[in-house]
């Protein structure tokens, strides 16, 4: 009876995961979808705690430990998630993802110890040394898979987290890819040996796999550029999904199986979609060639170039005050400078003067998909003012002033004109169609892709150098003083 109800709980949870994920992929229903999946998860967890019976019909014990764990994890998780700054959210996701991976790996370790104990009992009962005769290979295979994938996901997520909050720098050495490949071969070789060759002493091999997997996770993420971390996190996310599914196999538990595979499949596709939005391939991201070269290539590119003109604060303030329509193009620099609130200020002041102000949002502006939406939403910019790329491109022609705030690659005309450019083919915001373009950045240095931007040298463009927050504050003061 109890088991029957538990089966129903799991069935309901599986369905909420699917429906929740589906709702999450439509803007209007996304929030409800998240809550639905959370409700399903709650049902599955409570069901497990109170109704679970193993194959011999024994329920769970250690309730104190279980509830203590849930409480501690729940409180810390809620606080961390509530306190984190908007711009630090990808880091947070990475951290939580790592926790999931570690959890899967720990489960594998405990279950392996059970197996070893079983072996001990088998020996004590006078059994021969053929440990593997008494154990189901499939079980061991799944334990190993969950262990390897979970450990890689854990270690990789920690590195990604460190990179995103700036504690860890990109490190790569010659032949790193070769070392990585050898490492993964070694891991699977050891696992296969454990499975097939039935060595007398399996325990050290098992822990060797743990260590090697952790090392691989670190080496895997290390050389990839910090700006590519969202893609890496998405990939590691799908890894953790697969590790969770391994647990589903192990306990013949449908909700773990379906939830894990769902995330594994959806996460993989999402990773590919993210790469596509940046017009790159997953391989290209993983090899770290693009993000890695940005720093080096950047300086070289900045050396060349033509002549550009600067604009004074008061001139900028004047053209914007007397414009009919101003379009703001936010980019990574805005996020770094945390200038979203000042930007919203500026918008309100201009609107009060009768200027029509809108934002043009490029899908991959910033460093994570939706970065600009989240950032501007944090500063209470109204949703209706955010134009997607296609809409914005239709409106630039009728725009008087475009104010580019710390964006670079997403307004680089080379993506349209120069087939030799690494970003050629990426759709961009065609700001050069507007009457005047004012670009705010700190220097002539290139952006993420590390390439020169011809936009800055065009006659209609003028530069307003300085940190985005500072420049906007000064601009705001000037505009207000115009009256």
């Amino acid at each position: 009876m109890e088991l029957n109800i538990l089966t129903l709980c799991y069935l309901i949870a599986s369905v909420t995961f699917i429906v929740g994920l589906k709702m999450l992929s439509h803007p209007a229903s996304a929030r409800k979808g998240n809550l639905l999946a959370a409700a399903g998860m709650t049902i599955a967890i409570l069901g497990t705690i109170f109704l679970y019976k193993d194959s011999e019909g024994n329920g769970l014990h250690n309730y104190a430990w279980i509830f203590a764990g849930l409480l501690i994890g729940g409180v810390i998780g809620t606080l961390a998630a509530k306190k984190v700054k908007m711009t630090a959210m990808p880091e947070m996701v990475s951290l939580f993802n790592g926790m999931g991976g570690a959890c899967a790996a720990l489960i594998s370790i405990v279950e392996f110890n059970h197996l070893v104990k079983g072996y001990g009992a088998h020996l004590a009962a006078g059994g021969g040394p053929e440990f593997f005769a008494v154990l189901d290979k499939t079980t061991l295979l799944i334990i190993l898979l969950g262990l390897i994938i979970g450990s890689i996901s854990f270690a990789g997520s920690m590195i990604a987290w460190g990179k995103l909050n700036g504690r860890i720098k990109d490190i790569s050495f010659k032949g790193q890819h070769l070392v990585n490949n050898l490492l993964i071969l070694l891991i699977f070789g050891l696992a296969a040996y454990l499975l097939i060759a039935s060595p007398a002493q399996t325990v050290p091999f098992f822990y060797a796999i743990v260590v090697l997997s952790l090392v691989y996770g670190i080496f895997f993420v290390m050389p990839i550029g910090g700006a590519d971390m969202p893609v890496v996190i998405s990939l590691l996310n799908s890894f953790t999904g697969v590790a969770a599914a391994c647990g589903g196999f192990l306990y013949d538990n449908k909700v773990m199986l379906t939830g894990g595979i769902l995330v594994g499949a959806a996460g993989t596709l999402l990773t590919i979609l993210m790469c596509k939005a940046m017009n790159r391939s997953l391989m290209n991201v993983l090899l770290g060639s693009f993000g890695g070269s940005a720093a080096g290539g950047g300086a070289a590119a900045a050396a060349s170039g033509g002549t550009y003109k600067e604009i004074s604060l008061s001139d900028a303030a004047t053209v914007m005050s007397y414009a009919n329509k101003v379009m703001i193009v936010p980019g990574y620099g805005l996020a770094v400078a945390q200038a979203q609130h000042v930007c919203h200020e500026l918008e309100k002041v201009l609107e009060a003067k009768g200027v029509d102000v809108k934002y043009a949002i490029h899908p991959v502006a910033g460093r994570m998909p939706g970065h600009m939406n989240v950032l501007l939403a944090e500063a209470d910019v109204s949703y209706e003012k955010l134009l997607e790329m296609e809409q914005a491109n239709d409106e630039f022609k009728s725009t008087d002033v475009v104010l580019v705030l710390g964006a670079n690659d997403v307004v680089n005309p080379a993506a349209k004109n120069d087939p030799a450019s690494p970003i050629f083919g990426m759709p961009i915001l065609e700001v050069e169609e507007a009457k005047t373009v004012i670009v705010n950045k700190r220097s002539m240095k290139p952006g993420y892709a590390g390439i020169e931007n011809q936009l800055f040298f065009q006659p209609r463009t003028s530069m307003l150098f300085g940190d985005a927050k500072k420049a906007l504050q000064d601009l705001l003061a000037e505009i207000k003083s115009i009256g």
């Binding site: 994920l21 999450l24 992929s25 803007p27 996304a30 929030r31 998240n34 809550l35 999946a37 998860m41 599955a44 967890i45 497990t48 705690i49 679970y52 329920g59 769970l60 430990w65 279980i66 764990g69 501690i72 994890g73 810390i76 998780g77 809620t78 908007m86 959210m89 947070m92 939580f96 926790m99 999931g100 959890c103 899967a104 370790i109 405990v110 110890n113 996310n237 799908s238 969770a244 599914a245 647990g247 196999f249 306990y251 538990n253 773990m256 199986l257 379906t258 939830g259 894990g260 595979i261 995330v263 594994g264 499949a265 959806a266 596709l269 999402l270 979609l273 994570m368 998909p369 109204s382």
Partner: protein, 99 residues
């Protein structure tokens, strides 16, 4: 191998179908939702917590290794689930239209 497929056929069907569902369900996501979706999916794989609860709940009294590792697994799994859903909700809150 063939025999393995035979004994696990139901599981295999479920896995294959789930892969199709996962891929199809995501198919049409607009790029602004990539990050919340990643975060939501991250919370869902926190279902691994169920494995942790089982491990913890089955740990024999004297087996400190199992108890400690199991406890750690429960804490980490809960972090993943609770933190994941809360952070996703916060992200999505930002997207809601102003009244």
């Amino acid at each position: 191998m063939l025999e393995w497929i035979q004994t696990h056929q139901q599981m295999i069907y479920i896995v294959i179908l789930m892969i199709f569902v996962g891929i199809e369900v995501i198919g049409r996501v607009p790029s602004v939702l990539h990050t919340p979706l990643m975060s939501g999916a991250n919370a869902i794989h926190g279902v691994v917590i169920i494995g942790a609860i089982i491990v913890m709940g089955q740990a024999e009294d004297g087996n400190y290794l199992a108890i400690i590792l199991g406890f750690l697994a429960v804490v980490l799994g809960t972090l993943n689930v609770v933190g994941g859903f809360v952070v996703t909700d916060r992200m999505l809150e930002m997207f809601k239209k102003k009244k």
